[in-house]
Symmetry: C2
Subunit: 114 residues, 2 copies
């Protein structure tokens, strides 16, 4: 089991803000996956809750991935409240899973690590 969190290369976020958004996505992905299949999430937790942070080029690549991924795997899409650094509503991260490796890999295997 794994969770992949996808960030945008074109947003030049400070590393603290970036980490906060990745955490936001991770938690929302966790809750969404748990609603769908708590056993998969519990197995992910027992295995050490593997999280992998990757990147896409920009918002359109992120949205395209999200639209595809959510048909197969529990996902979460994070938008910024816009209080600092970026415009309100900016799409910052998506979480894919936690879910079964093979289904997550099929969607994310070509993405580069952040």
């Amino acid at each position: 089991m794994k969770q992949v969190i996808v960030t945008r290369s074109d947003l030049k976020l400070g590393k603290g803000k970036l980490a906060a958004h990745v955490a936001h996505a991770s938690l929302e992905g966790y809750k969404e996956a748990k609603r769908r299949n708590a056993e998969i999430v519990e197995e992910w937790e027992r295995e050490g809750q593997r999280k992998i942070v990757v990147k896409v080029k920009d918002e359109s690549e992120m949205l395209e991935l999200f639209e595809k991924a959510k048909r197969f795997v529990p996902c979460a899409l994070i938008r910024d409240a816009g209080l600092t650094q970026i415009e309100p509503g900016t799409l910052t991260c998506i979480a894919i899973g936690p879910w079964k490796d093979e289904e997550v890999d099929r969607l994310t295997k070509d993405l580069k690590l952040l």
Copy 2:
């Protein structure tokens, strides 16, 4: 309500790995706080689940803060599995809360943003 996640300045983690550890801490802090007081956590979620990422100098400063903080606020301490970049068991992050602002602030107000 807020959650503060504390990182170490002396660990030179890549930003993807750093973000994954912050997410790990955030999720464990969420679960710990929820066990203690689900209403506080729900209020934090309703308010937009504010997360603030800060830094301390090194492991000893982190441990000292953790020992103090856990007497007042639900906390989580994250150690690395050591598969990449750092030694197994390295302490990487702590989460303080989500919990009431005034109690979290009392512990973290002097820490710098990451």
